[in-house]
């Protein structure tokens, strides 16, 4: 009996060991190494490019063309930029122009280019208790300040959060004074869920909203199409002269890839089949 038990344990352990060593990365890695040696390229980007599904399309295309393995770290723009200034990422795809300019000025990022844009929209419960439907953004924010309807903020130093703070500030409003100002500290997807659940208003990028619309229930676009609501994405390299261990070539290739005509076509077509409209737009020039 004891021997049987012992042998069972042994078999179990062996099974674990073989499962660990055989099935997974080892064999795959070996196979990859035989074909070509791929170097890692760390891309720090915003949650919106991942949550909308755009990167699931772009990254495989890039990997097909260039010999790199892209490691996409989807975080808030604040954290992505911080990773850039620390030299923990090779290339950045973010959407907070003002904050980006700062790290370009400080020399942490170089080779910065506009990639695409979409827009921010103010969304809220279909019943619209604050009465901001169809109102321009500036006025909408004033109205939201006056009403005691909840406003749900990202509160995570992301590009969207920065934009929201900028909108309050431009109106000379202080959100800290607003009643029912909810700060989630989470990504756009989760924040939309909280807003829908609490019947509150929030600022979101259009791509994430469209991707999530079906799970939000009675939740609609309230204000859109304002110049102040433009959401611009830039790509940039982390400066290899300022930081060690940067994959300089890979970052350069990625920036080049994002400007490529074929990539641009993919971006402008993205979302049309699934949502009936494009999620990101290109600059004319």
């Amino acid at each position: 009996m004891k021997k049987k038990l012992l042998s069972m344990m042994l078999i179990f352990m062996l099974a674990i060991i073989t499962a660990c060593s055989g099935a997974g990365t080892d064999s795959k890695e070996k196979a990859e190494k035989k074909v070509e040696k791929r170097t890692d390229l760390i891309l720090a980007t915003t949650t919106s490019t991942q949550d909308s599904g755009l990167l699931d399309v772009l990254v495989p295309q890039f990997e097909k063309k260039y010999p790199y393995k892209v490691k996409t770290i989807a975080v808030g723009t604040g954290q992505a930029l911080e990773m850039g200034t620390r030299g923990e990422a090779d290339v950045l795809l973010v959407h907070a122009p003002e904050a980006e300019q700062k790290i370009v000025d400080s020399g942490d990022a170089i080779n910065r280019h506009k990639v695409m844009y979409n827009d921010f929209i103010i969304v809220g419960p279909s019943a619209d208790p604050a009465g901001i439907k169809g109102v321009p953004a500036k006025e909408a924010f004033t109205k939201l300040m006056e009403s005691n309807q909840p406003f749900v903020s990202r509160g995570d130093d992301s590009g969207t959060h920065k934009k929201e703070l900028e909108l309050w500030k431009n109106n000379k409003l202080d959100p800290a004074k607003k009643e029912n100002y909810i700060s989630t500290g989470q990504g756009m997807g989760s924040t939309l869920q909280v807003a829908a659940e609490k019947k509150g208003y929030t600022l979101t990028d259009r791509a994430t909203y469209l991707a999530q619309k079906k799970s939000l229930g009675e939740f609609d676009i309230m204000s859109e199409g304002d110049d102040s609501l433009l959401n611009i994405y830039h790509v940039m390299q982390v400066n290899p002269e300022k930081h060690e261990k940067i994959n300089k070539e890979g970052a350069k290739d990625f920036v080049h890839f994002m400007k490529d005509n074929e990539t641009k076509k993919t971006i402008s077509e993205f979302g049309k089949d699934k949502y009936g409209q494009a999620l990101f737009f290109l600059f004319d020039k």
């Binding site: 009996m1 004891k2 038990l5 069972m8 344990m9 179990f12 352990m13 674990i16 060991i17 499962a19 660990c20 099935a23 997974g24 990365t25 890692d40 760390i42 949650t47 991942q50 949550d51 699931d56 990254v59 393995k69 490691k71 996409t72 770290i73 989807a74 620390r86 030299g87 923990e88 989470q186 990504g187 756009m188 997807g189 989760s190 939309l192 869920q193 991707a211 999530q212 079906k214 799970s215 939000l216 930081h243 060690e244 261990k245």
Partner: protein, 232 residues
Amino acid sequence: MDLLLHGLKKAIEMILEGDPEIAEITLRTLEVSMTAILISTIGGVPAGILLGLSRFPGRKLLLTFVNIGMGLPPVVAGLWITIFLWRSGPLGDLSLLYTPVAIIIAQTLVSFPIVTGLTAAAFQQLDEKMILQIKALGATRWQLLWILMKEARLALLAAVIAGFGRVIAEVGAAMMVGGNISGETRILTTTIVMEVSKGNFEVALALSFILMAIAFLITFCLTYLQQRKRHA
């Protein structure tokens, strides 16, 4: 309620269709968690036995640390490991951040103290008179150890089960040190978090059923092992 049923249906669909991505994520989860618990067991059990049986200066302090470690929040472990593995960090040259190895390190760090602590407690509970008696009967050290391990078998496996529970449930550290990279460090728990944030509750639920099924299967095996001797 509908959502739950849909989720279950979707989970069964995913398994039956053999969705390659799901299969890959599931395999990776198993691989990473099993490796972590294996390391914790191989290292933690002897450490626990040592802490439980022998007496040496500083032992109580060490035990205190182990016991604190049992409650070490995974995100704290994750944060520390991230800082160590950063390119600019002390272990940056190994470029382990955002690899499955980093997740294994994190999971080992949070499960090691559990295995060690529970093993130590189990061995301390053994009757000292029995130990004396075994020694008196002329057992060698290894024979003594073997007998004691069999004696504490129930508690030992309980320690492994508890450690495994921690490892398979862990998400905060895996997210931080792994980065939830598609095809590389995406495991079931981090995928669930991502799908929830995408609003794909159905997929998230389906994955949660798969995760629960795995946890059940493995815990069942371990429990079976643990309870087996009772009938002998």
